[in-house]
């Protein structure tokens, strides 16, 4: 294995290339599939294998920028990126993140930052995970009831997003890719709120923004994934620059991780093609609960079990996503060859 060990001059440590590729690929699959940055996997994974924490965060942010470009290109080609919506949200997110940072500094001054932030984070993840899971279960029940009564499963009316879309404060904007029309202030306000929360909790925001896009703005799941990745790309690029200037990015490690992440991101993004929106939501809820458990373990000073849980979960979740992709491709091929056979019969007959 020494053959694969390289010296990382900036972090000042020796590291296995295969491990970097594996971490990159794992987070790439999850990121492309859920539309998240994946800092919750990469940072503890790098840290546990010897990266000092500031370098782990900086290197993660740097590779996140590159990886999100790969996923955003693919999602863009699928028509899943609503650029107009993303830009509107970024306006609010930027202001929100600045306000959040000031709030954190205030909490630090009164000596509450560490404990309060972690507890709020646990509570937040629990709430989001529970809501997404509840939504999935109620959707499945609704579908079953409808199919049992023999009626078509029409979408439920008067969701929170639909009510918010009806608030008529000019300018009203038509977001084509999302298929919604609402006030410009709705995405700006949602971006602002998620920005404050993400900044206070010290996370990239994918965990919060993706459900917010679905449940508050009313985006279809795939557009939420693609649009969120567009935002992750911007925040990743900014994070790469600011951490780079501070000298906390190991560029060599980031490049190796990006190679793994590019493959993973492409696979994760294509997998959404073969999975229903609600299945993505279910897997997302499971992922949130795992992230929540790992933060809880950290709170109990169990750093090692927390990191092991995260790495194992990341590998298992990305394996499930790849299995879904393989199953989808095989089915598609079978359907294509089936239609080809029937066409052939038709023409011969």
């Amino acid at each position: 294995m020494d053959f694969f060990t390289i010296y990382l001059p900036i972090a000042g440590i020796e590291f296995n290339v295969l491990l970097l590729l594996l971490i990159g690929a794992t987070v790439g699959v999850c990121g492309g599939f859920f539309g998240i940055g994946g800092a919750w996997i990469v940072t503890p994974a790098l840290n546990i294998f010897g990266f000092p924490m500031p370098y782990a965060i900086g290197t993660d942010l740097a590779h996140m920028g590159g990886k999100s470009i790969v996923s955003t290109i693919r999602h863009g080609k699928f028509g899943n990126v609503d650029v107009r919506l993303a830009v509107s949200m970024i306006l609010g997110t930027t202001v929100g993140m600045e306000l959040g940072a000031r709030l954190v500094m205030y909490l630090e001054r009164i000596g509450l930052a560490e404990s309060v932030i972690r507890k709020i984070y646990i509570l937040f993840l629990l709430l989001i995970g529970s809501y997404v899971l509840f939504d999935y279960i109620s959707h499945v029940r609704y579908q079953r009831t409808m199919s049992a009564s023999g009626r078509d499963a029409k979408p439920k009316r008067h969701t929170l997003a639909q009510r918010l879309q009806r608030v008529n404060i000019p300018p009203m904007i038509n977001f084509k890719a999302s298929g919604i029309q609402c006030s410009l202030w709705l995405p700006v306000l949602v971006g602002f709120t998620t920005g404050v929360v993400a900044s206070v909790l010290g996370v990239g925001g994918g965990f919060i923004r993706m459900p917010a896009l679905i449940y508050l703005i009313g985006c279809p799941t795939l557009v939420a994934v693609g649009t969120d990745l567009f935002e992750v790309m911007i925040t990743g690029a900014y994070g790469a620059f600011t951490y780079g200037v501070k000298g906390r990015v190991d560029l060599l490690a980031a490049i190796w991780m990006l190679f793994g992440a590019a493959i993973g991101a492409q696979l994760g993004t294509i997998a959404v093609k073969y999975v229903r929106g609600y299945s993505i939501r279910l897997l997302f809820a499971v992922t949130i609960f795992i992230a929540c458990a790992s933060v809880l373990l950290k709170q109990l000073k169990l750093q090692l079990p927390s990191a092991i849980l995260i790495i194992t979960a990341g590998i298992v979740i990305s394996s499930v996503i790849i299995l879904l992709l393989v199953r989808g491709v095989l089915r598609e091929r079978a359907a294509r060859s089936g239609s080809g056979v029937s066409l052939g019969r038709g023409s011969s007959g």
Binding site: I6, Y7, P9, I10, G12, A62, H63, G65, G66, K67, S68, I69, V70, I73, R74, K77, F78, G79, N80, P155, P220, T221, L222, G236, A237, A240, F241, T242, Y243, G244, V245, K246, G247, V249, L251, L252, A254, I255, L258, F259, A262, I263, Q266, I270, V272, K273, R276, G277, Y278, V329, E332, R333
Partner: protein, 109 residues
Amino acid sequence: MRQRSIRKLRKLSIVGECAGFLSALLLFLPAIAHAAGGKPATKVYNVADTRAMSSGISKLIADLYNGNSVIFGLVVVGVMAGLGLILGYAMDLLIKRVGIDLSRLEHHE
């Protein structure tokens, strides 16, 4: 006349006091600062050790890192964005060759 000379003397004594205070400050300030102690200064910017490197990409990155922090930050963003674009398009071509249909996406909630 007498009042004038008294004023002059007062002015001189004030100037003398100030000069004395400043010279005492200059003399004792380093000692006071040293005695204040406190935590040792933390490193603001690390330096990559390039002594064992002769050439190659690691040396190039380390030299860049040791050079200018802003240029290094810009290079990080540029490399990541450029590599992301190249890898994205390369993976697209590769996936198409495998035979996966990337042309359309039917949305199902």
